[in-house]
C-alpha cells in the first residue's frame, strides 16, 4: 500500500506540473486556436529567470515576481511580433512560427545564461512529509496547492470578470465577439500574457523539484501539450485532468510495468484514448460548418 501511495504522490506532483503547462496551452488555444509550441519556454524562463536574478543578488521574494513580469513581457512580445503578423496564415504555418520562437528563446538563454543546470531552494524546506508510509515533498504540496488556487482564480476570472468573459466569447466565436465590440487583438495579447504568467509560475514552483536548465522547456512543453490534448482542447478543466492523468500514468507505469518503457506506455495510452474519444477526455466536440 505504501508503495502504491508513493507512486501516486509522485504522479500527482509531476502531474500538477504538466497540468499547469497544459493550462497555458489551453488558454492560448481557446483565444486563438493557435497551439503555442513555445509554451514550454515560458516555464523554462520562469525558473531560469528567477535563478539568474537570485544569482545577481536579489532575494527570492523579489526575484520571483520580477521574473514573472519578465516572462509576461516575453509572451506579449511573442504575440505582437511573431503571432499577430501571421494571424491569417494556416495552422501549420503558425506551428512553425511558434517552434521557431521556442528555438529563438532557447538560443538567447543559452548564450546569456549558459548551459548549466541550476537549483532553486524549496520554499518551505526539504523535510519530507510522511503519509501512510509514503513520502511527499513539501514543494510538491506547493505545486498542487498552486494548481488548485490557479484553477479557482481562473474560474472566477472567466465567469465573473468582463475581461474573462470577453476571452471566453472570443473563443466561442471570434466574429460574433468582434461584432459586440470586443477587440480580438487585445484579447489575443492578454491570453498570451496570461499563459506566459502561468508558465512562469509553473517553472518557478517546479524548479526546486526538477532543476532548471536552458532546455527543460522542450520536454515540459511536449508533456503539457499531451496533457492539453488528452484532456481535450478547449477545456481548461480538461487540461488539468489531462496533466494529472498523464503524471499518474507515468508514475504507475514506472512503478508497476517497466521503468524503461514508462514514456512509451503513457503515449500508447494517450493514443488509445484519442482513438476512442477523438476530442480528448473533456474536449468540446468540433463541428465543421460547410
Amino acid at each position: 500500500m505504501a508503495e502504491f501511495l508513493q507512486f501516486l504522490f509522485s504522479g500527482i506532483t509531476v502531474g500538477a506540473i504538466y497540468a499547469l503547462v497544459g493550462l497555458g496551452f489551453s488558454i492560448i488555444y481557446n483565444a486563438s486556436h493557435v497551439i503555442n509550441f513555445a509554451q514550454g519556454e515560458f516555464v523554462m524562463l520562469g525558473g531560469m529567470g528567477t535563478v539568474s536574478l537570485m544569482l545577481a543578488g536579489l532575494p527570492m521574494y523579489v526575484a520571483i515576481p520580477l521574473a514573472v513580469c519578465l516572462v509576461v513581457a516575453v509572451g506579449l512580445l511573442l504575440e505582437k511580433f511573431a503571432v499577430e503578423p501571421a494571424r491569417n496564415a494556416g495552422v501549420i504555418t503558425l506551428i512553425i512560427i511558434t517552434i521557431g520562437a521556442s528555438i529563438l528563446i532557447r538560443g538567447v538563454v543559452e548564450v546569456v545564461l549558459g548551459k548549466d543546470y541550476h537549483r532553486l531552494p524549496p520554499f518551505t524546506g526539504e523535510t519530507p512529509i510522511i503519509i501512510g508510509g509514503a513520502v511527499l515533498q513539501p514543494q510538491g504540496l506547493w505545486v498542487i496547492g498552486a494548481l488548485v488556487v490557479v484553477v479557482a482564480v481562473l474560474r472566477w476570472f472567466f465567469e465573473h470578470t468582463r475581461l474573462g468573459k470577453a476571452i471566453l466569447a472570443t473563443s466561442y466565436n471570434p466574429l460574433a465577439a468582434q461584432l459586440v465590440g470586443i477587440d480580438v487583438r487585445t484579447i489575443l495579447l492578454v491570453s498570451f500574457g496570461l499563459s506566459a504568467a502561468l508558465g512562469a509560475l509553473a517553472g518557478i514552483l517546479t524548479a526546486p523539484i526538477t532543476l532548471t536548465k536552458y532546455d527543460v522547456g522542450i520536454m515540459l512543453g511536449l508533456k503539457g501539450f499531451a496533457a492539453a490534448i488528452l484532456g481535450g482542447l478547449g477545456s481548461s478543466y480538461g487540461a488539468v485532468a489531462g496533466g494529472l492523468a498523464l503524471g499518474i500514468i507515468e508514475a504507475m507505469s514506472a512503478g508497476y510495468i517497466s521503468s524503461a518503457y514508462k514514456d512509451a506506455v503513457a503515449f500508447v495510452i494517450i493514443l488509445g484514448v484519442l482513438f476512442f474519444m477523438p476530442s480528448g477526455l473533456f474536449g468540446t466536440k468540433r463541428t465543421e460548418r460547410v
Binding site: 517552434i99 538560443g107 500508447v268
Partner: protein
C-alpha cells in the same frame, strides 16, 4: 489527342508552314513548362552538373543528406500539402527503414536491397494499421497522435539494445549489389540523386493523376469531397502509407550511405525538422519540398559562422520566413514571378 490532331489539321489547312512550325514549338515549350517534364529535366540537369561545384567529400556528404531529406519531405508534402493532414512523427518511419536495413544486413546477413524492401513493406504495413484510427483525428489531435507514434518508435529503438545497439547506435555494412560494394561519398551521391529523381517523378505523377485530384478535393473541403462521392478515408490512408514508404526507403539508403545509425534519427526533433522543411519550402509543391530540404540541410553548416548565436539566428529565420512567406518559399516566389510576367 483530339486537340493535337485539330491543331495539326489547322496548321496544314492554312497551308502556312511557318504557322505549323510555330504551333509545334509552342506545344514543345508547353510540354517543357509542365512541372512533370520540364521540372524533372531541370532537376536532372542540376544533379548532373552539381559535382563540378563539389570540391571535396564534405560537400558530397551534405549533398547526399540533402537528397535523402528531400525524399522524406517529398513524401511528407503529399500528406501535408496535398491531403492537408499533418504528421509530427515521420522521423519514426525514416528510422524504422534505417534500422530494418541495419539489423537485417548486419545481424542476419540479408542482401541490402532485400532488406530495404522488407523495411519498406514493414513500414507500409505499420502505417496502414495505424492510419485508419489516426486519420480519424483532426488538426492538433492528429498532430499529437503522430507525435506519440514517433516517440514510441524512438523509445523502442533506444531500449532494445541487443537488436539496435541502443543509444550508442550501430554500424551498418556497405550495400552490396551483386558483386559491387557500394561505398564512398561520390558513389552515394549518384545513388541518392537517382533516388531523388525517382521520388520526384512518382510524386509529380501521383499529384496529376486521379488520386492527386481526389487529394486536392479532400484538402479543399473534406465534406464537399465526400459529398461528391470521394472515399476520403481511403485516400488519406493511401497517402499516409505512401509518405511513410518514402521515408522508410530514404532511411534505408541513409543507413548504407552513412554506415552508422543512432536512435536520434527517430526523435521528434527530427520529425519537426522534416515538417519545417516542407512548410518552409512550400506546401503542395514537390519542388517546394526539395527546396525546403536543401535550405534546412545546408543551413546548419552556414550557421556555424554564428558560433553560439546559431540558434538565435535559426529561430529568427524560421519566424521571419513564415511571416513574410506564409505559403512557403517556392509558391511565394512563383506567384511573384507570375505577377511580374503578367
Amino acid at each position: 489527342m483530339q486537340r493535337q490532331g485539330d491543331s495539326l489539321r489547322r496548321g496544314f489547312a492554312t497551308k502556312d508552314i511557318g504557322a505549323a512550325r510555330a504551333t509545334h514549338v509552342a506545344r514543345g515549350a508547353a510540354w517543357l513548362r509542365t512541372a512533370r517534364h520540364g521540372g524533372i529535366l531541370a532537376l536532372i540537369a542540376v544533379l548532373l552538373i552539381l559535382p563540378v561545384f563539389l570540391p571535396n567529400n564534405f560537400y558530397y556528404d551534405v549533398a547526399i543528406k540533402t537528397a535523402l531529406n528531400a525524399i522524406v519531405c517529398i513524401g511528407l508534402n503529399l500528406l501535408i500539402g496535398y491531403a492537408g493532414q499533418i504528421s509530427l512523427g515521420h522521423a519514426g518511419f525514416f528510422a524504422l527503414g534505417a534500422y530494418a536495413s541495419a539489423i537485417l544486413t548486419s545481424h542476419y546477413k540479408w542482401p541490402g536491397l532485400l532488406a530495404m524492401l522488407a523495411g519498406a513493406l514493414g513500414v507500409a504495413l505499420l502505417a496502414f494499421l495505424v492510419a485508419r484510427p489516426i486519420l480519424r483525428l483532426r488538426g492538433h489531435y492528429l498532430a499529437m497522435a503522430t507525435l506519440g507514434l514517433g516517440i514510441i518508435v524512438s523509445i523502442v529503438i533506444n531500449r532494445e539494445i541487443p537488436w539496435t545497439g541502443g543509444p550508442d547506435g550501430m554500424s551498418v555494412p556497405a550495400l552490396r549489389i551483386w558483386d559491387w560494394r557500394l561505398t564512398g561519398p561520390v558513389t552515394w551521391y549518384w545513388i541518392s540523386a537517382g533516388a531523388l529523381v525517382l521520388a520526384v517523378w512518382v510524386s509529380l505523377n501521383l499529384v496529376e493523376s486521379p488520386v492527386g485530384r481526389a487529394l486536392r478535393a479532400l484538402h479543399g473541403s473534406e465534406i464537399a469531397a465526400e459529398t461528391a462521392g470521394i472515399e476520403t478515408s481511403r485516400y488519406k490512408v493511401l497517402v499516409f502509407v505512401v509518405s511513410a514508404v518514402f521515408a522508410s526507403i530514404a532511411g534505408s539508403l541513409f543507413a548504407h550511405a552513412e554506415r552508422f545509425v543512432t536512435p536520434v534519427e527517430a526523435g521528434f526533433l527530427r520529425s519537426i525538422e522534416f515538417v519545417t522543411m516542407v512548410v518552409l519550402g512550400g506546401m503542395a509543391s514537390t519542388f517546394g519540398a526539395l527546396v525546403g530540404a536543401s535550405i534546412l540541410t545546408v543551413l546548419p553548416q552556414v550557421l556555424t559562422a554564428f558560433d553560439e548565436y546559431k540558434h538565435v539566428v535559426l529561430g529568427a529565420i524560421m519566424i521571419g520566413v513564415m511571416i513574410f512567406m506564409p505559403r512557403g518559399l517556392v509558391p511565394t516566389l512563383m506567384s511573384l514571378w507570375r505577377r511580374r510576367a503578367s
